[in-house]
């Protein structure tokens, strides 16, 4: 009898639960991709959604879809072509005239004019607006007045920007920069509508752009719905009914949704998922393709013992002691490609990528490595440390790299990894020149140009010259390349500069990072652009 009572209780509880389940099942049917909407993975953007305040992939995903800049990059070849610009011309490679295609509109119906660009750029550069990408305007004359290194701005606008008429403006740069027009596809250079300045908070809740898509709804940190923008005048007309970007807490959660059919496009795949997908579980709905990202190990050339002629040999030796093919295969399941130059394959041969430029330096040769390091008097300080941020999943490859170096040198203590708690702390130590040994560095291109892989990273004062490489010959070669109006000659000049890195080795190229994406059988035509962001407007639904 007792048992009967308890059994009754359990039955009652279960049926209540089932009834409740039954009730709510009707409203949770947001499952299918009806109406041609693509459901895509997204991560929470790091900064507010303003064009010049976006420097990471999640914010860029939105920016690139709701904005169209002066130029755009071909998703396959990376070649720049005019989008909103009709022409960008200069006779001296320093003073530029930008003419817009007339009649382009923002999604709120207002017209895109020269003023939209000039106002946006002045806003992005002014230091009190706290825009992360402000330094992208450093080439424009007057930047130092709106963003002085110390103190308050002495001007609100840059003297180098002038509106000529509704569809024309001029830009005066501080130096010759022949490939400058091709940099203008970067999100910092997008135009802004008047609404941005009149109702800033409202704008952040629902950004307005001039691109193929417009924001229909946005719940911060959770979901954004994009629908095709009827006012868009460009060539990248969406082939689907819109995109729902959903923020995921974890790559595995997204992959589970992809498997159960609740997600269509997943471009953040965990190592476990990658192993399954590479094993053929994807049914061909998986892509693993190079992105404009190179990973390197940099040396603190500001430390006296790393800045000698002998240390140069040691740096060369360390590079030769790293078995790149084995590490990329075992640690990264082939989602990295061993590097043989300091750029990225996405540039293409005409854009400046040159396979094998690095030569012997990037080829695994333990004997030569040991010989060079001994010739250079051994590793400065007796032991090589490779510092990395512990919160970014770098431990495995750093340990493998050290292991490779140790084996080449026949010494188990020649190299050790040095984890630093957070990315912020790690970058603090790097930018305040506190490194004493080697440290990991990575460079994701802002625009597909060899200039972007050389100037910011290896010239004096470059925004990402973490090793503080200082070679006047390199700098003057970069200047020569920038002043060269002919594209092919300019690229060749940059490669001449790049060849200096082979002997100087301020940083060792490790591997190019790939972008990966898997998709459901609801969608077709999924590709990744050179920035490893899916080309959403091309995706079709079935």
């Amino acid at each position: 009898m007792r048992a009967a009572k308890i059994r009754w209780a359990i039955v009652a509880v279960t049926s209540v639960a089932l009834a409740a389940t039954g009730c709510s099942s009707s409203k949770s049917s947001g499952g299918s991709s009806s109406g041609g909407v693509v459901r895509a993975w997204w991560g929470d953007p790091q900064n507010p959604l303003e064009p010049a305040n976006t420097n990471e992939v999640n914010g860029a995903t939105v920016m690139n879809n709701i904005f169209a800049g002066l130029v755009q990059y071909d998703p396959k070849t990376s070649a720049a072509s005019n989008a909103n610009a009709d022409s960008i011309t200069s006779s001296d490679q320093q003073n530029w005239t930008v003419k817009l295609k007339p009649g382009w509109k923002f999604s709120d119906g207002t017209t895109v004019t020269a003023k939209s660009y000039v106002d946006a750029w002045n806003y992005g550069a002014l230091s009190t607006n706290k825009q992360i990408d402000a330094s992208f305007f450093a080439y424009v004359q007057g930047y130092n007045d709106v963003a002085p290194a110390t103190g308050s701005p002495t001007a609100q606008t840059m003297s180098g920007l002038k509106v000529v008429d509704d569809n024309t403006f001029t830009v005066a740069l501080t130096q010759k920069f022949s490939t400058w027009p091709q940099t203008l596809g970067y999100n910092a250079y997008y135009p802004l509508p008047a609404a941005f300045f009149s109702d800033h908070a409202g704008y952040l809740n629902k950004p307005i752009g001039n691109g193929p898509y417009m924001v229909q709804s946005y719940t911060r940190s959770q979901q954004m719905q994009l629908v095709p923008n009827p006012d868009y005048s460009g060539a990248n007309k969406p082939k689907n009914g819109g995109i729902t970007l959903t923020v995921y807490t974890d790559p595995n959660a997204a992959y589970s949704d992809l498997q159960s059919g609740a997600l269509d496009v997943d471009n953040t795949l965990s190592t476990t998922a990658l192993k399954t997908l590479a094993g053929g579980a994807s049914g061909g709905r998986f892509l693993n393709t190079p992105a404009g990202i190179i990973q390197t190990i940099s040396f603190p050339l500001y430390q006296a013992n790393w800045n000698t002629e002998n240390a140069k040999l040691v740096r060369q030796g360390i590079s030769m002691a790293i078995d790149r093919p084995t590490i990329t295969k075992t640690i990264f399941t082939n989602t990295r490609t061993p590097a043989t130059d300091w750029t990225s394959p996405v540039l293409g041969d005409s854009g400046g990528y040159k396979a094998g430029l690095c030569g012997d330096l990037c080829t695994y040769n333990p004997t030569k490595a040991k010989q060079l390091i001994q010739q250079g008097g051994g590793i400065p300080g007796g032991q090589l440390t490779i510092s990395y941020n512990a919160d970014g999943g770098h431990k495995d490859w750093v340990d493998a790299t050290c292991n490779s170096i140790n084996q080449a040198l026949g010494n188990n203590n020649a190299c050790v990894g040095n984890p630093i708690g957070t990315f912020a702390d790690f970058r603090n130590q790097v930018t305040s020149q506190k490194m004493t040994g080697a440290f990991r560095t990575g460079w994701q291109m802002d625009y597909p140009l060899i200039q972007d892989f050389m100037q910011p990273v290896y010239t004096v004062g470059g925004s990402s010259n973490d090793s503080h490489y200082n070679n006047p010959a390199f700098d003057s070669q970069v200047n020569t390349a920038n002043a060269e109006p002919d594209q092919a000659k300019s690229v060749a000049d940059f490669q001449t500069a790049e060849k200096m890195l082979v002997t100087d080795v301020p940083a060792i190229p490790l591997w190019y990072q790939n972008g990966t994406v898997a998709w459901s059988n609801h969608v077709n035509n999924v590709t990744l652009d050179p920035f490893s962001i899916p080309v959403y407007w091309q995706i079709t639904t079935s």
Binding site: S24, N47, N55, P153, R220
Partner: protein, 307 residues
């Protein structure tokens, strides 16, 4: 009673200040968060200085804390680096976590006490032993294993329930994470109930009640269970707080944008406003749950009086 409650409320003030200050110090010990905003690029000095000024990062720590607390009393929790107000984060995360907690807590109470009662009443028999083995298994398997396995089997392979919760939080989608979240505590509740029920079932008052000829059901529920619940309620009270804050693993696995996950994001991005704001609310939840537990004792056992 009223005086007791008042005293307990007053005690909360130093606890509250102490915990928030500790959290504040710990988040700041992680270092300057501004560099991380600029990625692999050295921060533009002008812009970095402006951002540091906006978040008072140049002031000494105690001053930052006082400024923060001053704003807190005006219900201003500050903003994150992504420009979101912490109050809007709280408003988005807490309802979700409350729903999850409610589902998990219900499962925990109903199934936990039910199983405990079942096995306590039938000590040494098959039912008892199976409950003991079952709870041992649940306790010894880490939550993320249960989480991923259940998600894969129920959500992906069989497709019975949604694999993740996502943006539209429905009751249906919360069942799976609710079970995972409840599982470990449920095992403890079952074992705790079993022990006290088994102990009390031999007590004099139970024998008296049975001898009086009371129906079995009244004996078990009004006499035996009521007395046995005091330690269980203590556990449930502290667990309610733990469920709200500790749902991190479950929330990540099932894509729930709740307290645990938002807190985790705050720590990763070193957004002290987010972390301190969420912990502040969590501290209040903990303190309130504890007070509630203490007051419930008197309901369960009228001999307990508060002065």
């Amino acid at each position: 009673m009223g005086r007791y409650v008042l005293r307990r409320l007053l005690q909360m003030i130093p606890v509250f200040i102490g915990t928030t200050f500790l959290i504040f110090v710990m988040v700041h010990a992680l270092g300057d968060p501004v560099n991380a905003l600029f990625g692999d690029r050295a921060p533009d000095p002008a812009v970095a200085a402006q951002i540091r000024a906006q978040y008072n990062l140049n002031d000494p720590l105690w001053q930052q804390y006082l400024l923060y607390m001053g704003r807190l009393f005006k219900w201003d929790f500050g903003t994150t680096f992504s420009g979101q107000t912490v109050t809007s984060q709280l408003a988005a995360a807490y309802p979700t976590t409350l729903k999850l907690t409610a589902v998990a807590f219900t499962i925990e109470v109903v199934v936990g006490i039910g199983l405990g009662l079942l096995s306590g009443l039938r000590r040494g028999r098959i039912a008892d032993n199976s409950v003991l083995i079952l709870t041992l298994v649940v306790i010894s398997i880490p939550t993320f294993v249960t989480g991923y396995v259940l998600q894969y089997l129920v959500g992906v392979k069989w497709g019975i329930l949604p694999a993740t919760v996502g943006f539209d939080v429905t009751f249906q989608s919360l069942i799976l994470p609710g079970i995972v979240l409840a599982s470990v505590s449920l095992a403890y509740v079952a074992r705790l109930t079993r022990t006290t029920v088994a102990e009390n079932s031999r007590a004099d008052y139970v024998r008296t009640a049975v001898a009086k000829g009371l129906p079995r059901r009244r004996v078990v529920i009004n006499h035996l269970l009521r007395n046995s619940l005091i330690p269980v309620v203590t556990f449930l009270g502290t667990d309610l707080g733990a469920l709200m804050g500790g749902a991190l693993v479950t929330e990540r696995i099932f894509n729930i944008h709740g307290v645990g996950y938002t807190l985790y994001q705050g720590i990763v991005r070193q957004s002290s406003n987010t972390v301190v704001g969420f912990v502040t609310i969590l501290v209040i939840v903990f303190l309130a749950a504890n007070l509630l537990v203490d007051l419930l004792y008197a309901v369960l056992d009228p001999r307990i009086r508060y002065a």
